[in-house]
Symmetry: D3
């Protein structure tokens, strides 16, 4: 039976040893969304045609945060990243911004935490930039949607 890997036999937290793992090409994609008032989304969409729009700033914040994942998540391995993309799309039909982040590395551990961190910080940035007009926004549905390259095989979730 598999168990929580971040603990040793006596229940103490460890950064697990990945020395024996192969250096393979690893990709992970994560998704999430920020729900808001329709009027807030309209503002973002209106802004999006100008310089310095909300989505561009949140995209950058997500990319930069992915590089600092190992500083934020206590037992996460520090790994170089070969590629990071963060996309934010306005979905007026659902009154939300949808965020997708994909990270890629050649390394011994997966990059799902980097992708999830990019999505989370991009979402927080959208909140920060719109909170003056809409304090009731909700960040949600943050999840791993794709993972490949590790020993555990590819993972696909919608």
């Amino acid at each position: 039976m598999s168990s929580l890997t971040h603990f040793d036999a006596e229940g103490r937290a460890v950064m697990v040893d990945v020395s024996a793992k192969d250096e393979t090409d690893r990709i992970a994609t994560a998704r999430g969304q920020v729900r808001m008032e329709p009027a807030t989304l309209t503002r973002i969409m209106d802004r999006a045609v100008e310089k310095g729009d909300v989505l561009a700033i949140a995209r950058l914040a997500g990319i930069m945060a992915s590089k600092r994942t190992a500083e934020l998540i206590p037992l996460c391995h520090p790994i170089p990243l070969n590629s990071v993309t963060v996309d934010l799309v306005c979905r007026p039909e659902d009154s939300l911004v949808e965020i997708t982040a994909t990270c890629r590395t050649k390394g011994r551990t997966g990059v799902e935490m980097e992708a999830l961190t990019a999505v989370s910080v991009a979402a927080l940035t959208v909140y920060d930039m719109c909170k003056a007009v809409d304090r009731g926004m909700t960040i949600g549905d943050i999840r791993l949607t794709h993972k490949s390259g590790g020993k555990s095989g590819p993972y696909e979730n919608r």
Copy 2:
């Protein structure tokens, strides 16, 4: 009509000037949750009686992340924090971990981003520590639930 405050008249991003704001006692509380398989939650709850459990590590990650909010959120003001608490509660009836963070400062801007960042990073840490047994966990319902101390008056959301 109020507008997005993080841009100047020409649409350029700025860290807004808070010099004219009063230094007041400001508190913010945020909430969120991590949904997972019942078996995953059971593992966390079983661990919780030992040393080094998932919830204690996620709590610490959330507290530490709140101190670095201004590094992560591009236009967020750096502010000292007088207090941070992060609580994680297992809700087996809903098969989720509920996270609540409260931050407090005496300053010129609110601390809602600090509380939301604490919740987000605590949630990411729960994901990281359990992902070997449950890749389908979803982080969601991250929102501001309480805010007081600023010019805009108190805010309460459930």
Copy 3:
């Protein structure tokens, strides 16, 4: 005769004691520029009408770097910032991008290093984003242009 203040009487580096200084409203503005091929500047200006342009990204990088000045400059005091603005203007007649940063705080030391750091990192970011098409760009003329609020009185340089 005044001397270099970051050393004690025996020539050892110190972070100087500012305890006795007043907390006053302090503002500093710095300027700099990135010289480049006319064709490179044209690209930036063409981009500037789209989402995600070079100038918006450099502006954000400058703002974010100003918050981390005390981590980069060894003997600089950590201080909160009440406001940061970074502007980048294309000057096709001189084939350069001109960068201006203004920082403001209420504190015991000036914010000229924060403004100069914002200009420097914004300039480095312009370089990074255009280096694939123009490796010969030069960053220069970085200087303090305005300072007010300290005991030494206001400073104005063009």
Copy 4:
């Protein structure tokens, strides 16, 4: 025709994918200078024979900053560095301090941003340490002078 590489086809910022690039030995050298009053330079040169001199502190600040380049420059890849040197030379005939930084790695992307960041932060540190006696110093002429090891071939500038 080559274009700005840090954007995708729709103009959105990305950290470009370097997975397909070879891991080669890469070296980059950058230069810059700090112009100042002759009297300020004299002080630095007098200090330079004692412990804790300005140039030694600026050298260290430059080396340390090069390690954090990917945190400062939004779309820069995080890469390990195999070697960093920063030299500062007083040029009394021109009343300036000349700064040269060389970085080396074995990786998939060049290290010119690391070298340019080292020069910039070393220059800012010289400014910080001398600003009490000379607020009119100017940082300038920061440029790439050598690059080798990438697919685009060696680059030499002066």
Copy 5:
């Protein structure tokens, strides 16, 4: 005769060039201790059976600090870590907490600084958490106890 390696021939600090070194599996273990009043140790030991105990928090702080060694130690190379463990054991017979950290990487330089940094920050965290009841605690005996994998051969100290 060997000399201090972090300086060039003219006595200037450098991050030494490790390009020519082999990428080998490298392990280092460091030890240290925090001496305290017996009553303080008793408190820690009593806590240790509950959630959120001192030792678990210090362990996490040590692991996280090891990842940031290159930011703290000026001339240390940034390297990825494949594994980090930090153990804290109460020794009531000596009235102290003993700390042991082991780091592992596959790289061109050793990880002794990472292990020593983990021990030091874990010790500082024990101090921080107990200082309200015992300001006279002493951190000491921090040393390298094992090192293997480099050109200089294995090292063993007790």
Copy 6:
């Protein structure tokens, strides 16, 4: 009976609320030492008359680390520092380098962790710079020697 303050009533870690504490002038001094082979100390002392000596670099590393204390120590409050000094003295009679750090702030919590962190990182830096010639060095006797300005009254330890 006083208890460990970093836990709430249920044993969960918190960053304690200091809102009710007065902003007072607070000073703390910490000490520590690095024991080494006499030949190693001789090298340091010989170097100390040149540019870029070990002690100057360790001093700078200690000052810079004190500014990042709240990032390293999980439950430490982020506070501005008004002054930091770090001194390193060679004691050939005991074959060690003695390190003393003093920090000062005007704030709601003490700065003993900042002083202890400065000493620890300065000691680690001495180790790093001399480890090629002496792997058996020991860092020890790190302790608080003076504290004033808080509600608990002044503290003096040798």
